[in-house]
């Protein structure tokens, strides 16, 4: 047992290598995400986004700063879906790998634990996927995010629904009791009330709860809209439950979960005409200066690399890399970054306003969305022909919304 302790000690202490820092001609990029644990699904999607960006940058020779190109090298830390492991990983990336900047965690919980550590070492971080409004209320100086928070994205589709004819008058809003879903449901509710849709029922329910009694009771109220904040499994259960009690609202609204292939795969024709929220789809008309010319080009590259369609999380993660790329060029910082250069990089990020394949990136420098990307237009999507199609706002719409929704029993 003593030997074991001694061995472990050596192993732990022995892992502090002294890195030769003097003239490094590449960027060290930390990647903290959840590759295992409950959030591994999403975590691995973010990893793909970050990896794809790194691959594309290096194929182009690297990040161009003052006419010279510096490749990037990624250093991973698995947060294991645990805030403590995320913080630990951040500590390692900061002190052992001495990374120049960090591409951030998948979930808001891990982000909230990682951010203070990086604050301490003054290392800029962009998360490509955390979308809880909480993060931005903390006003971390070095933390940014490419995906707008759910209370920003959630209101757009409600507004879009309110503009359809005949206008929906009543709604039932339900949300699962986790941070993301609850914030989504609250955003739906606030937006509905703002657009003159009467919210007949608003309930936050325990995650995984069988909702059929609640929906049976709701059915009696004949709501025009049923809006639900939840994750993939819960979304599938909700649609199946509505199907089982045979109630078709005029519109069924959820958040980004409907854009996941699993949603359509699991529900087939029952997934049709479900509304969702997103900020990016492969068909979004965008124009990028760096790496990918538009959304389609990115989608093709992603499809080629991973064999599955890219979703907006993955795109947001690749865009996070691009944001760093652009900011480094503007700040004129070259690796290795010292403290002053990291600060310059952070300032450049705050000042950034660029067009990318992902859309516009413009981090807010004040207010409740502090350092979240508010350059994007939130999108309303609807499943049509087994894929998400943008139906609003008008300038991006690919097809008109199908409304009111076809009753379950009339579908082919």
């Amino acid at each position: 047992m003593r030997r074991v302790v001694a061995f472990t000690l050596c192993a732990v202490l022995g892992t502090s290598p002294a890195w030769a820092q003097a003239d490094r001609n590449y960027f060290k990029v930390g990647v903290i995400t959840s590759l295992s644990g409950d959030l591994a699904t999403g975590g691995n999607v973010t990893k793909r986004g970050y990896d794809l960006w790194a691959k594309a940058v290096n194929e182009a020779g690297g990040i161009e700063v003052n006419g010279k190109r510096y490749p990037v090298k990624l250093y991973y830390a698995d947060a294991q879906s645990e805030p403590s492991q995320g913080a630990s990983g951040a500590e390692r990336l900061a002190t052992q790998q001495e990374v120049d900047f960090v591409l951030g965690p998948y979930s808001s919980g891990v982000t909230l634990a990682v951010a203070p550590v990086l604050e301490k070492y003054k290392i800029p971080m962009i998360t490509g996927s955390a979308e809880s409004p909480l993060i931005w209320r903390q006003k971390f100086a070095y933390t940014f995010g490419t995906i707008p928070p759910v209370n920003y994205t959630g209101s757009q589709p409600v507004g879009a629904l309110a503009g359809l004819a005949p206008k929906p008058r009543t709604a039932i809003v339900l949300g699962s009791n986790d941070a993301f879903s609850k914030a989504t449901a609250e955003a739906f509710k606030t937006a509905a009330e703002a657009h003159g849709i009467k919210v007949l029922k608003f309930n936050i329910v325990p995650s995984g709860q069988d909702l059929i009694p609640l929906l049976s009771a709701a059915k009696v109220l004949r709501p025009d809209v049923i809006a639900f904040g939840g994750h993939d499994e819960e979304l599938i259960n909700l649609v199946k439950a509505l199907r089982q009690i045979n109630y078709t609202p005029k519109a069924l609204l959820m958040h980004y979960g409907v854009t996941e292939p699993a949603f359509v795969e699991a529900l087939g024709k029952d997934a049709e005409e479900v509304f969702g929220a997103s900020v990016w789809t492969p068909t979004l008309p965008t124009r990028g200066d760096l790496l990918w010319a538009d959304a389609r080009a990115y989608a093709e590259a992603a499809q080629k690399e991973y064999g599955v369609p890219a979703d907006y999380t993955q795109a947001g993660c690749s865009a996070a890399g691009i944001a760093f790329q652009a900011a480094a060029a503007r700040a004129g910082v070259t690796p290795p970054l010292d403290e002053g250069e990291k600060r310059a990089l952070r300032d450049a990020l705050e000042a950034l306003d660029i067009e990318t394949f992902y859309g516009r990136i413009d981090f807010a420098d004040r207010g409740e969305f502090y350092h979240a990307n508010t350059g994007l237009e939130a999108l309303t999507v609807q499943i049509q022909g087994r894929r998400p199609v943008i139906t609003a706002p008008a300038e991006f719409a690919e097809a008109p919304a199908r409304y009111p929704t076809t009753p379950w029993n009339d579908r082919r």
Binding site: M1, R2, V4, V5, T8, L9, A11, V12, L13, T15, S16, L35, S36, D38, A40, Y76, D78, Q80, S81, E82, P83, S84, Q85, A87, S88, E91, R92, T95, Q96, G109, L112, A113, P116, V117, E119, K120, S132, L134, Q138, N177, D178, A179, S181, K182, A183, P206
Partner: protein, 327 residues
């Protein structure tokens, strides 16, 4: 044997005390700090699980209770950390009394299930209450001093270890627990009040968990129902204690160090194989029940071999529970 063990314990403690002086590596400090936390959790779990024979599958609830109490008192009540931490320990102990009263009168099977349910109940509570922040969790003021947390954890875990060592190995209490574990009916005939003693053990096991939870909250600066009230703490404490050796103090400590080291190594270098971790963890625990019933420590000390077969009858059938069920 006893003296040399104490000597080695002392040396280990001193080594741990000087580590921060030897290294400026804050990541390594973090790793060792967390390893110590797991030692404390696994050893505390073993008070009830190993010494008393009641498997607490809700250890994480008490850890989380401590974390939340500390966070709430610091953030909403503006208590100083030390007081909030103590309150976390007290509350975890009080919760053990409340949870233990109906369940510790019963056979271990009920207790195991009840504590598992309790963990989920506490998680639900944190999710629906306002002052816990619901699913959003709570942030604490960042106090990012690795040395502070290292020494705090070191001191707390040392105290926990020494207190348990004295109570369980050198005082009447430990013997009483083991007697109850082996034969509750028989213990009653000798004047022991099983329910009272079991509740005492439960409290002794959960107070450290609550305190460690409080330290965790302040250290990590963020807690939410998923991270401090999820399955992780329970799962890992059980695995560490069983793998290391139930009913000893050194066993769970060794188990904690090895499993934590394995986990850290696994995720640092083999993270592509992510979910294999669960398979390995599960297989290790299942196999150690079959092949290493006394845990690793049984193998190292030869305790397993010294023990003669348990009974002349085929050890096979008839669990004691069944026999006692008959009036």
């Amino acid at each position: 044997m006893r003296r040399s063990r104490a000597l080695w314990a002392g040396i280990t403690a001193v080594v741990f005390a000087v580590i921060p002086l030897l290294t400026r590596d804050t990541f390594a400090l973090r790793v060792v700090t967390e390893a110590m936390m797991w030692i404390g959790l696994a050893v505390a779990w073993d008070v009830l699980g190993g010494y008393t024979g009641y498997l607490n599958f809700g250890h994480g609830a008490f850890f989380g209770l401590g974390a939340y109490t500390t966070a709430v008192l610091m953030m909403r009540g503006h208590w100083p950390f030390a007081l909030a931490l103590a309150a976390g320990g007290v509350l975890a102990g009080a919760a053990a009394v409340v949870a233990g009263l109906p369940t510790l009168r019963l056979k271990g099977a009920y207790f195991a299930i009840a504590t598992w349910a309790l963990a989920r109940a506490v998680q639900q509570l944190a999710l629906v209450l306002e002052f816990t922040g619901g699913p959003d969790g709570m942030r604490l003021p960042p106090f990012l001093n690795p040395q502070f947390f290292y020494y705090l954890m070191w001191a707390l875990v040392s105290v926990i270890f020494v207190v348990l060592w004295i109570l369980l190995e050198h005082s009447a209490f430990g013997l009483k627990l083991q007697a109850i574990r082996e034969d509750e009916e028989g213990a009653m005939a000798l004047g022991l009040k099983p329910t009272t003693i079991k509740i005492q053990a439960f409290v002794l096991s959960t107070v450290p968990a609550g305190i460690l939870g409080g330290v965790y909250a302040y250290w990590i600066t963020f807690i939410d129902p998923a991270s401090v009230l999820g399955d992780l703490v329970t799962d890992q404490s059980v695995v560490m204690a069983v793998f290391g050796g139930l009913g000893t103090l050194v066993g769970p400590a060794v188990g904690a160090v090895l499993i934590y080291a394995f986990k850290t190594f696994f995720w640092a270098y083999l993270s592509e194989y992510q979910v294999l971790y669960l398979i390995i963890l599960g297989t290790v625990i299942a196999l150690s029940v079959v092949f290493l019933p006394d845990g690793l420590i049984g193998l190292l000390t030869g305790r397993g071999r010294a023990e003669a077969p348990r009974s002349p009858e085929p050890a096979d059938e008839n669990p004691p529970e069944l026999r006692e069920a008959a009036p």
